[in-house]
């Protein structure tokens, strides 16, 4: 296989080197600085003081009361838990809404699949901020839903839709739906149609066919989609900032605030590590399942 088109070792290094240096220097090195910053003292004017401190980690669970004693503070664990819950809810809703779409597209004639997939992906390539803003227009007190319901005489006072956890969930689902549809589509599209026809011929009703033929074979796609939705949803910033009213509603907002108005970089770094740890745990768990063959039907 050593055809003449293969690059020499120095050729590989020369071609691959620049990209690796850029990502290494400007992403890997910065990421390695995050744990270091988390063990330093906060500079109240921003940045860190080069003094060792575990203050940032203490702060995750405790706060000092006025006598200087540490008391348990559940504010930050609650934000972490809310983020996990919202990300899980988003994943479940995306699966529920995305699976039928992936299935329908996969069973279309090839010529029509391309354009349908483009329609699924276009929103992904449009501005996330703008897409989230469009939900403010719909959900707010003078928004389209409330105006519509008031005009129809169903309600007299506007319903509180914006700045709720539900609004964040809608925004997250809206953001990440394409991530769920595409891998499930890819998995279903590979299923031999003969299997579906065989199930039909053997008098399986549609539900049995779905449960015993399609679902087991689509499982790798579902798992991939769940990861692609859950991981970015967990760290998202825009949906909670705009639809949740901009308080510290999810980890991403909490981290951002530490590097903005709160000026507590070590604490922000510590929270970033907690977020990274959660993401890594999910990825490793998934890799473990794949290796142990739990995906295979």
């Amino acid at each position: 296989m050593t055809g003449p088109a293969r690059l020499s070792r120095s050729g590989i290094a020369l071609a691959l080197g620049p990209a690796l240096v850029v990502v290494g220097l400007f992403l890997v090195v910065p990421l390695l600085l995050v744990p270091i910053a988390s063990f330093m003292e906060a500079n109240p004017w921003g940045g860190v003081r080069p003094t060792f401190s575990v203050e940032a980690y203490v702060q995750v669970l405790f706060e000092e009361d006025f006598t200087g004693e540490l008391i348990f503070n559940d504010a930050y664990p609650r934000i972490v838990l809310r983020s996990l819950a919202l990300a899980a809810l988003t994943t479940a809703l995306c699966l529920l809404a995305g699976f039928p779409v992936a299935y329908v597209i996969a069973l279309q004639p090839k010529s029509r699949q391309g354009i349908l997939l483009l329609l699924v992906t276009v929103p992904f390539w449009t501005n996330l901020l703008i897409r989230t803003y469009s939900w403010i227009m719909i959900l707010r007190d003078e928004g389209l839903i409330n105006n519509g319901l008031e005009a129809a005489g169903v309600i007299e006072e506007p319903l509180r839709l914006l700045y709720t956890n539900g609004a964040i969930a809608i925004g997250l689902v809206y953001t990440f739906l394409p991530f769920m549809v595409l891998p499930i589509y890819a998995a279903i599209e590979r299923i031999d149609r003969g299997l579906i026809e065989a199930a039909h011929d053997l008098y399986a009703n549609r539900r049995a066919m779905l449960r015993h033929v399609v679902l087991p074979l689509a499982r790798p796609g579902i798992a991939a989609g769940a990861i692609l939705v859950f991981v970015p949803a967990l760290g998202s910033f825009i949906a909670p900032a705009l639809l949740g009213g901009g308080k510290h509603l999810m980890i991403g907002n909490l981290i951002q605030a530490q590097f903005g108005a709160s000026r507590n970089w070590p604490f922000g770094s510590a929270m970033s590590l907690i977020l990274l740890a959660a993401v890594l745990a999910v990825l490793l768990w998934q890799a473990q399942r794949r290796r142990s063959g739990a995906w295979q039907p």
Binding site: L7, L16, L27, Y103
Partner: protein, 283 residues
């Protein structure tokens, strides 16, 4: 079913077969769910565009058609500056990222298996795995730590890094589907590596490179959180500007700017898609 009863048995069987092949695998309700899905995906965007043409001050109560908000956008020098910043950052960063990604993809595909290949791939795709907010704060710590403040330069560095995987993936896909025979033929004819690349590989790879460039460009234009954190006073890009407007209050002016940004994305995605599809047909 009642229709088939009235037909002759042969006709009925034929119709039945046709209908059955169509119906196999069809799940009742899934079709409706798909329509609802696309409505959910596009209705908010459509509403946003519609209200950008609203004559009144409200972004949610329709009065009459007008282009006033677009006139205001065109006359707003802050928006022009933000748009210029966005274009500079996205133009430079996507070009750099695409150049880096092209050579990286060549090494990964044409280099054959080599030690550390998996690690190299993971590194190239790292920006896709690490949550954006973590990338943002890591870069803030890094730039502050080494005291680098180049204004737009910092933003360009940051964008180049996270655009690399978006440029890499379509280029890699194109390269995977390219048979190496053309390059081998060139080398048989004593073309050196560089000439082979420039006269053979590059033209064949061009659709993938162009698609990668466009996807990197819109990824950069759309970026919000990293630009927000890494940016400084003079580096407001369009999404940052739109965010500050939303915080002040909802007006159709936001809809008008948003519509223009959406238009750019739509054009670029469609072009990238058309190029990729056309190139599937060619060698």
């Amino acid at each position: 079913m009642s229709e088939t009863v009235r037909m002759s048995p042969a006709q009925g069987a034929a119709a039945n077969r046709g209908a059955r092949r169509f119906a196999v695998g069809r799940i009742p309700g899934f079709g409706a769910a798909t329509w609802a899905f696309f409505l959910f995906l596009y209705a908010p965007i459509a509403l946003l565009v519609v209200f950008s043409f609203n004559g009144s001050n409200s972004a949610t109560i329709w009065s009459h058609f007008s282009l006033d908000w677009y006139v205001k956008v065109a006359a707003n020098s802050d928006i022009q500056r933000a748009a210029l910043n966005s274009l500079i950052v996205a133009g430079v960063a996507s070009t750099l990222a695409t150049a880096l990604a092209t050579f990286a993809a060549l090494a990964m595909v044409r280099g054959g298996p080599f030690r550390g290949q998996q690690l190299a791939l993971s590194t190239l795709l790292l920006p896709l795995i690490v949550p954006e907010i973590v990338i943002a704060i890591a870069m803030v710590i890094f730039f502050t730590g080494i005291g680098l403040s180049l204004g737009l330069g910092n933003l360009i560095i940051a964008h180049t890094v996270f655009c690399i995987p978006f440029a890499y993936l379509p280029i890699r896909a194109r390269l995977d589907s390219l048979s190496p025979v053309y390059e081998e033929a060139a080398q048989d004819l004593y073309a050196d590596n560089w000439r082979t690349f420039w006269h053979v590989t590059f033209p064949l790879l061009a659709p993938g490179i162009l698609a990668g460039l466009m996807l990197a460009f819109i990824t950069s234009v759309d970026d919000f959180i990293i630009s927000l954190m890494v940016g400084s006073a003079g580096t407001t890009t369009l999404p940052i500007y739109i965010y500050s407007l939303i915080r002040i209050g909802i007006t159709p002016q936001i809809n008008a700017i948003s519509t223009l940004v959406l238009l750019i994305s739509f054009i670029f995605v469609s072009l990238a898609w058309l190029i990729a599809r056309r190139s599937e047909a060619s060698p």
